[in-house]
């Protein structure tokens, strides 16, 4: 029959690349700088601490990249890593959002805390991660930072924080607001005991985080070009109905207005931190 003649030659399957094959397709080899639009090899970019070699733009870093960038290799020991948030207000959809970010980032909340070493000097660190719920502060962030401060107090070592946060986490309402007080009061206690606290603000540091621990360092630093401020730019523009200067609420603006000791680029950070930590080491006997 004529029909059979045609079906015989028909291919009954299609060739689909295997899962493994798919992953072999190179992805993310190149990174485009959002500031100067120039392209860099991703590997080169990471080697350069995620700073654009053309214009000096500081790409955002997640907490692990940050740890690798300034702590001595293998020195980081995480504290309270398995602390997680509940849904104290029974806020609709909050648990799903948390779960989604946990899957996406492999983190349990928006801050990583622990003990580590900078050029051999022991420190307690807290590193906020902007990839988890925009680095927002709820009960877990407040509690982990407070426990880290207490740990620094207990060990009599300096406390260093890298902030990156959109502010208080709305889904925890007033509990988030109170974390501002909790962390600040803990810093006061550390300070009264002579403890050293260094705050390094990275992009973005806004709202409740900028109005609590971020601004309370014995030394306040920022990365170049970071957004730092309390009220959102859009809110301010709507309130006062006037154009804001271009550098409004940047690190450079904050330095100009007396809120920062210095702007330090990523490549110099470890050296500068080493200098400051060294000056604050327990004094030996000086032979005059």
């Amino acid at each position: 029959m004529l029909k059979d003649f045609f079906t015989k030659s028909k291919k009954k399957y299609a060739t689909i690349p295997s899962e493994n094959g798919k992953q072999e397709v190179p992805e993310g080899i190149l990174t485009k700088c959002p500031n100067c639009k120039k392209i860099m090899y991703s590997k080169e970019c990471i080697k350069n601490l995620k700073v654009c070699s053309h214009c000096g733009y500081h790409h955002p870093m997640n907490s692990q990249e940050r740890i690798d960038s300034f702590l001595d290799e293998q020195s980081f020991q995480e504290l309270n890593g398995d602390m997680v948030s509940g849904n104290p207000l029974q806020f609709p959809g909050y648990e799903d959002k948390l779960e989604k970010d946990r899957q996406k980032t492999n983190l349990n909340d928006a801050v990583k805390t622990g003990i580590g070493k900078v050029s051999g000097m022991k420190v307690v660190v807290a590193i906020m991660d902007p990839t988890f719920r925009m680095g927002s502060m709820g009960s877990v962030v407040g509690e982990k930072i407070t426990r880290a401060i207490e740990k620094a107090h207990e060990l009599s070592v300096p406390f260093i924080i890298f902030t990156a946060s959109g502010g208080a986490r709305m889904q925890e309402g007033a509990l988030s607001l109170m974390q501002m007080a909790k962390t600040s009061v803990a810093l006061k206690r550390l300070s009264d005991q002579g403890g050293l606290f260094i705050s390094i603000m990275t992009h973005p540091t806004t709202g409740g985080v900028s109005a609590s621990f971020a601004s309370l360092g014995d030394y306040n630093f920022a990365e170049p070009g970071a957004l730092i401020g309390f009220a959102g730019k859009r809110v301010i523009e709507q309130t006062i109905r006037e154009e804001l200067p271009e550098d409004f609420q940047t690190s450079e603006f904050q330095l100009k207005h007396g809120q920062l000791d210095a702007i330090i680029s990523r490549s110099e950070l470890k050296d500068q931190l080493t200098t400051i930590l060294d000056i604050h080491q327990p004094k030996g006997v000086v032979e005059w």
């Binding site: 349990n108 501002m180 300070s191 309130t239 207005h257």
Partner: protein
């Protein structure tokens, strides 16, 4: 009627009916006293029903009532010898925060509070009760003075929030708020905070790190205004009512969450209905609170405040978390 709320309408209508009947009995030769009595019983029940089932959004409306008593209204009723102090000694005097020294039943105290205006002119002068950095810094100066002279500090909280403006950012509003939280953690005198109206975000908290925190029954305390929350969460500030409900900003909710110590009962229908009576309610609570706190020694007060804030928040650990879910 101006300044009355929708949810109160049945009460007002019934009240009107009763007064009409009373007028009628006066002019006509009819005895309606039994009817009036019945209606009055109904009114009591209705008032109880309505005011005990008040929604969070109703409370937001009451807290924002233009005639709601302000810090200065309470100062003149609760304290004697009030002497207002001005200026942060650095930049200027922010009239959105008032503060000074006074006596409470003979005890010297320092009183500080946000101050709204009652009319447009005063609101402009006081920036609608939204402080600039110099306001927080004035407050801090007065608190340090209180600490030095061993006077308890009483703070009245009543602000929509910190002022979202260019000038406030330029003068370091983040740092000014943060500094207050930090320093309030270390004062060795009792600090009592009372939310009397709206407690909005960092601007409110900057006067809020106390040993005791109370809220008037119809006041609110939140991380952001319901409108702000709605516009961020759902890109629609019209959903403020929904936000007010989900954010748990009322006194009963915050007592459950252990953010505040206690609720100060309000005059039926809101503090604006009888300021004197409301001041008397606040006085009772202040007496109780100060009696307890002035017994504590300096170090104990600092530890008490530390522990209080240390315990706010809800966290769990992953192991438990897996078991629960």
């Amino acid at each position: 009627m101006v300044g009355e709320f929708q949810f109160e309408k049945p009460i007002l209508e019934l009240k009107q009916k009763i007064s009409d009947l009373k007028d009628f009995t006066k002019s006509a030769e009819v005895d309606l006293s039994s009817e009036i009595e019945k209606l009055e019983i109904r009114l009591t029940k209705l008032e109880k029903d309505i005011y005990s089932n008040i929604t969070p959004w109703d409370r937001v409306q009451i807290a924002r009532h233009p005639n709601r008593p302000t810090t200065l209204d309470y100062i003149s009723r609760l304290f004697t010898d009030f002497f207002e102090c001005h200026g942060d000694r650095t930049f200027g005097d922010d009239e959105a925060i008032v503060g000074g020294i006074a006596k409470f039943k003979g005890l010297p105290i320092t009183i500080i509070g946000h101050q709204r205006g009652k009319d447009t002119k005063e609101n402009i002068r006081r920036n609608f009760g939204m402080p600039h950095p110099e306001g927080y810094r004035k407050a801090l100066r007065l608190m340090k003075q209180a600490d030095k002279f061993n006077r308890p500090i009483i703070c009245f909280i009543d602000t929509k929030g910190a002022y979202p403006g260019k000038s406030a950012e330029e003068r370091g509003q983040s740092e000014a708020i943060a500094r207050n939280l930090f320093e309030m953690g270390g004062f060795t005198v009792p600090i009592v905070c009372i939310v009397i109206g709206e407690g909005g975000s960092g601007g409110a908290l900057a006067l809020g790190v106390g040993n005791h925190i109370f809220m008037l029954e119809n006041s609110t305390y939140s991380v952001i205004s319901p409108e702000g929350a709605a516009s961020i969460l759902w890109k629609d500030s019209g959903q403020a009512k929904k936000a007010a409900e989900s954010m748990k900003i009322t006194a009963p909710d915050l007592k459950k969450l252990k953010v505040i110590d206690d609720i100060i009962p309000e005059v039926k229908g809101g503090a604006h209905k009888d300021v004197d009576e409301q001041a008397a309610e606040i006085e009772k609570v202040l007496v109780r609170s100060l009696k307890e706190l002035t017994m504590m020694d300096k170090e104990a007060l600092v530890v008490h405040r530390y522990e209080k804030f240390k315990n706010i928040g809800e966290v769990s650990f992953l192991k438990d978390y897996i078991e629960v879910h």
